[in-house]
């Protein structure tokens, strides 16, 4: 199968709408297809991967821990918009420590989250073959 660059564009926070959980479900299935996968978190999408989510009070499933599994599925390019974080008073240290083991570097554990500027995201997006927005 030819390899294409797939980008999953996340711009909304979790729970208020279904898009966050259902887009993560697509990403997990996509892992089996061995394509070049990136996730982009911008606007309120950055809240999907904020550390410390607790849904006990709203009676909904807390699926945020599922993001930790992405590294095991070779999904390790999680681009987060620097501007979106800053606008929201957030920094990289507010995000979940999502990691993967780099098989090309002695299985060293490395961060999957890459905070990027809008200009950098522009370049990344322009390389994509398929862009799924949710």
């Amino acid at each position: 199968m030819a390899t294409k660059k797939f980008m999953y564009l996340n711009r909304r926070s979790s729970f208020g709408t279904v898009y966050a959980i259902e887009s993560l479900e697509v990403v997990l299935i996509a892992a089996a297809f061995e394509q070049d996968v990136s996730l982009a978190f911008m606007d309120d999408g950055v809240y999907q991967i904020v550390e410390g989510q607790n849904t006990d009070g709203i009676g909904m499933k807390n699926f945020s821990k599922t993001f930790h599994a992405l590294g095991d599925y070779d999904i390790n390019k999680l681009y987060v918009s620097k501007e979106s974080l800053e606008e929201r008073g957030l920094s990289e240290s507010d995000l979940m420590p999502l990691v993967y083991e780099d098989e090309d570097d002695d299985w060293e554990e490395k961060p999957s989250i890459r905070v990027v500027t809008n200009d950098e995201l522009k370049a990344i997006m322009s390389e994509q073959d398929v862009c799924l927005s949710f």
Partner: protein, 98 residues
Amino acid sequence: MLHTVNKSSFERNSLQSCLNTIDDTSVILFIEDGVINAANNANSSMIADLAANGRVFALQGDVEARGISSKLADNIKLVDYAGFVDLVVEHGTPVSWV
């Protein structure tokens, strides 16, 4: 790339987010409520330069449906659905800003 925007900038920040990440050769097509962005209004400066460079399109059917055919900003190029298809063919990966 072809960027489609289906929301007015008065309703959501989708247009701004699109503009933050659009590269130098991509084009924007306004569809559905997004055609409001093609009208002369307080936010028109957001797309004035892009439109002057021929990079802003709007779906004609959506413009007419909303009664804004005579209120469009300068340099907006109207297309029908066949034109929408042509834009996707010509400009590569479509990105949908909702």
